[in-house]
Amino acid sequence: MRRLILTAAALLVLPATAVAAPPANDAPTGATEFEAFTAGNLPAGQTAAERQGVVDLSEATADAGVPRCLGPVSFAKTVWFRVPAAPVTRLVKIEASSPSGGTGEIPDLALFVGAAGGAQTAEAQSCDGAAVGALSTSAAEVDARVPAGRDVLVQVGRSGGQAEQRLIASLRTTDLPATAPPAGDVATAAPALRIGSGEGVPLTGATLTEEDPAQPACPAPATVWRRARAPARGTYRITVKGPAAGTLTAFVGARPTADGARACVNRANAGGPLVLPVALRRGATLWTRLGTDNPADGASAAVVIKRPPARLGVALATPRLRSLRALTRRGQIAIRIRTEGQAVRGIRVTLGRRVRGRFRGVSRRTTANAIAAGGSKTVRVLLRGRARPGTYRIVAAGRAGSTPVRATKTLRLRR
């Protein structure tokens, strides 16, 4: 009986399901090609240089397992197009907007460059859409210089909450001259950079490959990678010079992923450098991506990653107050020194007081020396003399020798 009811219910539901079937290219595996079209003002038999994709998302669904490169509400409904591989490197450019009569809601676009073995949807290489921000005309655009022999999948969709279900996408491909890709065209094969020393980075022939995570704030159709390991914790400054570099993006992690993007910067003027500060932990791998709009013959840039400036922090060893009181009775204070950056080696810690706005050491015997080459270190300073409870003392830590790097902390001695 139950089976009969279920069967009857299924029969009732089936026609409706058939009507509401998703489009054939709802999933990446069903991706269709953009279609050629003609026009009344074209010579007979000739088609337009661009190809079109006319989309109705009413019955389209989202894509399980495909990263939504524009945020969690992006690509709530999608369809897929495929740009077949070509024997030469090409500039692939896709644009999308609402059709005639449509709303001003911006469509979502993502471009996936296939791996050498076939198409992929694990990482989008270029994304644009509603989450990027409103413009005076509602449209989205992605482009990429795609290596020869690579398929491209294009995800076209709309964010959740958008009323418009239709959109029109266009594809334009332009064949590019054969040029060998530069070193670092593929992220995982990025040459290592030495921190502190500059290096020329050729950009000629750069492309986008399947390892390039999209970063809509700083888009570029071609990229070149470099990697470096941070020798110490601190804020490193990446500087790129040369007009051919249009964007600079920093990633951190074992390999560059969209999740590991830390910061990016777009070229702000024709001739100036791109500068990007990035906070790194000691030992972290920094992936530096240079984006270029036109990696023509001779295009290159110079990259230098500077170590962070030296910094010192001073704190009492924990637990702070108890240690202070106890140690004061024994005539000692434990000081935790934290150093950041380069060239902080010998640390001298002095107990003193402020006299007329200037620090004055109490006694040479209150001075302790330590070696702190990045990270934290606890040093003990013997407190002697007439230090009375309730009086104030200043701990000063500085690099041994004459150096402006110094940090101070005021302590109140207790009983």
């Binding site: 079209f37 399980a64 945020g71 409103a134 959740g160 332009t174 777009n266 023509a296």
Partner: protein, 548 residues
């Protein structure tokens, strides 16, 4: 290069609107979005090769336009608006973002301005400064002051020089300049070369607009006069409709989208390509703009024949009825007065592409105007490349009897070739047509006062660059009448179907016009070559045009 002094910022409007996150999908969402870096709009690289423009003037706001030429996919520019030409008395600055998705176009609508006031403006990138533009806000809602406007249509680049624009730019600050369609033509120029590109997709439409804006006269007009624009068929394809002929979805969307990219016109959020709209200029005039291309139906598609569609027709009727203004100016693409050609002694409509092909809507509109006794409705029309001053008859009788319920002024064409019909025979078959001239080219001025509307047709020799203009005829329409009256001293008709000069422009271009056509060809050839080498070679940096 002009330089902008440091702006004294009185108001600052951030126009960057971030997308709104609404709802979440059900599918598994990997964390790629977690590192979506957001950035505010900043001034970026680029220069302003395509000039500046302003439009949609209201009493307190104006839309400003320019375009950044840059290779960068992301850039931006600062707009500076001031009350003086030196841009020292700054009243507004804003940073406007642009991206490759909109071809570097820059647009900002700046509010908080004073009515009936001249403003000067410029755009500033990190590499350059645009030419300084001039614009004017509309008169306040309670103003009874007179207005001066001008209008034109149909500018075919290789056919002749845009001398009408040259003069219109020198008229002094107009209250409004109306571009009534066929702002660009989609043809490949078969008269001169076969490799000139037809406009069918985004890139070809954008390249075509670049060619047009390279015209000095058009650029200057945009620089100094506030404009509104309505498109006609050639912004997409000749005489297209929904179905006959139906352009491809991309050609149509590209035509509309690129028009929005290149015009100082803001989008409606709920309908991104809507252009029908209304602008009030004091108590003197209401300017109602129509779209007679986007909503056409009835050509072989089984739907009722519609030129403007129900929603737009209701909008027009509502605006006409509610308008507090003396003059109701309707910016109108195609001719609304009937155009009959005598065949066997019987007048027959010859052009089904204009209102003649859409009797049902025309009758509904004109019956409404008559029934509601709405006075001083004036249609300003383009499309037909012919100067005409018409009464607009409500359901004219077969015996030539009619009642005029409005007037229509058709401002010739900037360059496009006119109708080769004998003027006298046109008037005989169409007694409501008071003048007919398809031979001359130029634009029209309209001066509005509480007593009358005065329309002046200005023409020039389009074969000669910057040739001086002369008055073809002037028409006066006293308030509360629906009849254009020829001004003393000007002629309504000229003899012959076409002037010798006009014929010459078609068959035997002079040296100047040949140069212009060669320029067109060069642009076209460059476009083809650029397509072939796109991205392959470094672009030479342009110098001396507002940037490096």
């Amino acid at each position: 290069m002009a330089s902008i002094p440091p702006p004294r910022i009185l108001t600052r409007r951030r126009l960057l609107v971030h997308g709104t996150a609404v709802g979440a999908g059900l599918a598994f969402v990997p964390s790629a979005w977690g590192r979506l870096i957001t950035q505010d709009a900043t001034v970026g690289p680029g220069f302003f090769a395509d000039g500046v423009a302003s439009g949609e003037p209201a009493a307190n706001a104006v839309t400003f336009w320019s375009r950044l030429t840059t290779e960068r996919a992301v850039s931006g520019a600062r707009l500076v608006v001031a009350t003086d030409e030196g841009l020292t008395n700054t009243v507004a600055t804003t940073v406007v973002p642009t991206r490759r998705a909109i071809d570097g176009s820059l647009k900002a609508r700046v509010g908080g301005l004073k009515p009936d006031t001249l403003y000067y403006y410029a755009w500033q990138s990190s590499d350059g400064v645009s030419p300084i533009g001039r614009t004017k806000t509309a008169k306040p809602a309670d103003s009874a002051a007179g207005l001066r406007m001008a209008f034109s249509s149909c500018q075919d680049f290789p056919v002749g020089f845009f001398n009408g624009h040259t003069e219109a730019a020198t008229l002094g600050p107009l209250d409004l300049y109306l571009l009534l369609g066929d702002y660009q033509y989609e043809y490949e120029n078969t008269e001169t070369r076969s490799d000139a590109f037809p406009t069918v997709d985004l890139k070809s439409f954008r390249d075509r607009h670049k060619i047009y804006r390279a015209d000095k006269a058009l650029r200057e007009l945009h620089r100094v006069q506030p404009v509104v624009h309505i498109w006609d068929d050639h912004e997409v394809e000749d005489n297209y409709t929904e179905n006959n002929p139906r352009p491809s979805d991309l050609q149509r969307a590209a035509g509309y989208r690129v028009s929005f990219e290149w015009m100082p016109r803001m989008q409606f959020p709920r309908e991104q390509f809507r252009i029908y709209n209304r602008w009030q200029h004091g108590r003197m005039a209401d300017v109602i703009m129509l779209d007679q291309r986007q909503y056409r139906t009835g050509d072989l598609d089984g739907q009722p024949r519609q030129l403007v569609g129900r929603a737009q027709l209701d909008f027009l009727k509502a605006r006409l009825k509610a308008s507090p203004s003396t003059w109701k100016l309707v910016a109108n693409q195609v001719m609304i007065a009937p155009l009959l050609v005598g065949v066997g002694g019987v007048g027959q409509e010859v052009n089904q592409d204009q209102w003649d092909g859409y009797d049902s809507e025309r009758n509904e509109l004109l019956d409404f105007i008559a029934a509601e006794q709405i006075s001083n409705v004036v249609f300003l029309t383009g499309d037909i490349h012919t100067y005409m001053s018409n009464e607009v008859p409500q359901r004219p009788g077969a015996a030539g009897t009619y009642k005029s319920v409005a007037t229509e002024y058709i401002g010739g064409s900037i360059t496009s070739s006119g109708l080769p019909l004998p003027a006298e025979s046109v008037n005989a078959a169409n007694p409501w047509i008071k003048t007919f001239n398809g031979a001359d080219h130029g634009y029209a001025q309209i001066d509005l006062s509480a007593a009358e509307a005065v329309v002046t047709y200005r023409v020039s020799d389009i074969q000669q660059e910057a040739a001086p203009s002369r008055t073809l005829s002037r028409w006066r329409q006293p308030v509360n009448t629906n009849t254009p009256v020829l001004d003393a001293g000007t002629r309504a008709f000229r003899s012959g179907p076409e002037s010798p000069a006009d014929s010459a422009s078609e068959s035997a271009p002079n040296a100047a016009l040949r140069r212009r056509r060669r320029r067109w060809e060069r642009f076209a050839r460059r476009d083809v070559e650029r397509r072939e080498r796109e991205g392959a070679a470094p672009r030479r940096r342009r110098r001396g045009k507002g940037g490096r």
